[in-house]
Amino acid sequence: MARVLVGVKRVIDYAVKIRVKPDKSGVVTEGVKHSMNPFDEIAVEEAVKMKEKKLATEVVAVSCGPSQAQETLRTALAMGADRAIHVEVPAGDYETLQPIHISKILAKIAQDEKVDIVILGKQAIDDDSNQTAQMTAGVLDWPQATFASKVEKKDSELHVTREIDGGLENIKVKLPAVLSADLRLNEPRYATLPNIMKAKKKPLKKVTPKDLGVDISPRIQVISVEDPPVRQAGSIVPDVDTLVSKLKEKGHC
């Protein structure tokens, strides 16, 4: 039986239009609706499923960020996590928090909490870094099974199907291990009302990176954040011949 740690990140909801701040220092987050990173929902679902199948004893959810990260943790608890750890990072510091910092934090918690499996989303839809699971495994020196689309536990091993370019790869990893969840791993559940109520009473512990001995001083400097170039307006051509010649002109056929 295993203890599972899942990472959940609060990101701008994907149905919200992203706006760049006028001073180009980042994107506007204030007054903007956030939700749990969709790949992290998949990670939570997988962990909760493991618990339901009696493959795991406990599911612990972690989120790093300012106080609003607790909303995301409550969602994880309502989905079925047993307890939560909020790693408090003030909004100012959070802007330069990078996967390297998060992976050190997660690695430390994984050791402190004596977990056997860490499940993270394969990437967060805001930064699209796709690094945290890999680096967490690196810091811990544990095996990793990234882009998982199927996970089965057999004795002290996990059989994992990975989504790779052009197909699927089946691998075995020994526990303890780090997984990252891909889109097709499962369909995350909705938190139901009775569970939302119960989640309010589940334990949520607060720690700081300092408590964990992790230095979060910035490794990068954001120089400028810009909108992608605006798509050029289309034009209507009178007939197929003109279309074909225009496409040829631009080297499309």
Binding site: D13, Y14, V16, S35, K122, E163, R189, L193
Partner: protein, 504 residues
Amino acid sequence: MRRATSNLCANLWHSSSFRPANYSSHAALTKDRYKVQRGKYASLTDKDVRVFEEIVGKTRILTDDADVEAYNVDWLRSVRGFSKCVLKPKTTEEVSAILKYCNERVLAVCPQGGNTGLAGGSNPVFDEVVISTSLMNNILEFDSLSGVLSCQAGCVLEQLETFLLEQGHMMPLDLGAKGSCQIGGNVSTNAGGLRLVRYGSLHGNVLGIEAVLANGEIVNCMSKMKKDNTGYHLKHLFIGSEGTLGFVTKVAIQCPVNPKSINVALLGLESYDKVLEILKTSRRDLGEILSSCEMMDLDALKVVEENLKLRIPIKECPFYILIETSGSNSNHDEEKLALFLENALDKKVVLDGTQASEPSRIKQIFELRERIAEALLMDGFLYTYDFSLKPVDFYSIVPALREHLKNLPNVLRVNGFGHFGDGNLHLNVTSKEYSKEILNTIEPFVYEWVSKVGGSVSAEHGIGFKKTGAVKFSKTPQAIKLMQQMKGVMDPNGILNPYKVLPL
């Protein structure tokens, strides 16, 4: 990696501009299916087409059968006309010139917006010339202080909503067909929809209308003032008259400020009594933040699961209620909603439920309600009714109709859903193909039922072509006579959308 992210979004983002892909019944011609007589109108000649070409130019007239086809058939595929000509004016003056000519020639016309109407009003019955507003899609003005938007009739509802969101406002109406329906069509059908419970009907929200009369005269009532008591309120004649009294070309509409905080809850209930209890408690405990109160029975929700593969996120219950709150302070709203939900759970009024404040989740939950009509249509043929009923009578007609139809083996489903907060039930029956026997068993049974309990046989979808025989179940002969007299004054040649609204 990137591809997976965009897949995710594509899967979860439903484009509301849709047309169901699989339908088995190819609609028969209206004139044959419903046995109507053509009125004494002129028939389209080559000369007429040349005149139209002069008015709108060669590129904005469709005469090819394949091009005209889509305009002849309704969204439900229940009526089919055989018009030979579709005109796409861009300006009020063009509409005026078209109507003036048609009136002189006594050529019948059919105004068409997004063609999402559910009563067969937007399609020709015979060979009426279709006048489509699709290219009249300019937003004219938005006053951010008064919140008044003015635009041309052909603006798609979703286009207006997107524009307004940028300005911090929103449309006072929202409906499942928003990706296709146009404001001119909405006004002409007096569309209700999901927000009416909070923001009221278009008779209140539409401040001004510009319309063209049958003889081509332009009536400019484009007031942008909330209050305007100068003389008779002519704009109300165009709201809900389904293109039979005039052609709407411009609309001024008041648009509320976009609420900062929106929450949605989907609740499962074990009986209709509990549904009534939720109606009472939601009004009492959510009060001014309640902005939608929709109901669906299990059978209606099952349709989106079976035909569209959407997931029902909570356990199976006989009834579901979808509640939306909108307000200006999320802490205030969430506290209110949480208390309301806790009470409902404690008192066992609600069996199960889920709640969301994230836009992506809200969208997914609303889809369950908004896509029922689309899903029902995928069964093959849909007989759909739109009634206003008192809360006590709201649901009893569904089991009664189910019982009434039980000996007809071709009936696939009988279910009910609707804008519960407004007492507006959508009653539905489906079969693989159109069946006259089923239709004749449903009607007039359902109309008589509704009339007996003092309801309305058309709450928000209008009368169109298909329900003209039902008007008498909700209006007295005197009222109908006055309607006919008004039609006579405004359209003496009867060229505007004939065979619609008034009893034939």
